[in-house]
Amino acid sequence: MSYNYGYNDNPLLENFNKHAKDVQKMKYKQDLPPPGRFPAVQHGAKPPLVKAPSGAVLIALSAAIMGLGMYKIGQGNHKRREIKTEKHAARQTLVPLLQAEEDMRFHMLNQEFLKLEASVMKDVPGWEVGKNVYHSGKWYPPYWNDLPGYKKGL
């Protein structure tokens, strides 16, 4: 397209006019869209890049993991119970020995205490040395730790 301005024929603009036609022949730059159309504008939500598993799958997976965990807990409890039974069996076998030793020690000290009691209460009429304080007939350990051994720090 050539535009015919009135001053194009001015002889003073000879150089300008000489080059003007060359410029007109040049392809002009214009900000046009690319060949084909522009891509469609994305509006709204995009679809996900990776499809997530469904809810049922997630629930099943978590249940499986929890089940495995509970199984491991049960196994661990079994092992701990075994260890405890061993410990309790060992203690059970040692109870008679320890109790017998303690009985002998207590008996020796109690004899001394009964002698002391007899010497203290010899003038009291109707006093039975070493009599059970209770009427049920069962033996109970002494209420007060007045045995001589305790005072000596045994």
């Binding site: 260890i83 410990k87 008679p96 109790q99 017998a100 009985d103 109690n110």
Partner: protein
């Protein structure tokens, strides 16, 4: 003869259980009948002599393994699960016929 500390007794409990089972049972039944210490002293003496004989026998048969096991138990405060290697060597050398 080694002094019966807790770790020594705990390491020898299988032997005590097999060899002194009758005496232990007698003592516990006596205690059930009467809690008075004076009543169960004869049974108690039998228990003590039995256990002493067991420990003496272990000292004669396998002193090193028994001492090593007792030492390990003493180190770990009588935890059986921490002393399994020493326990296996001890049981191999002196079986308790459990």
């Amino acid at each position: 003869m080694s002094i019966p500390t807790s770790s020594v007794l705990m390491s020898a409990w299988t032997h005590i259980a097999t060899k002194c089972a009758e005496q232990n049972k007698e003592f516990m039944e006596c205690k059930k009948r009467d809690r008075d210490p004076a009543a169960c002293i004869p049974c108690g003496e039998k228990v003590i002599t039995c256990v002493s004989s067991v420990l003496k026998e272990l000292d004669q048969r396998c002193p090193e393994e028994f001492a090593a096991y007792s030492k390990c138990m003493h180190y770990y405060h009588n935890k059986f699960e921490e002393c399994r290697p020493e326990q296996t060597t001890f049981e191999k050398s002196c079986t308790s016929m459990f």
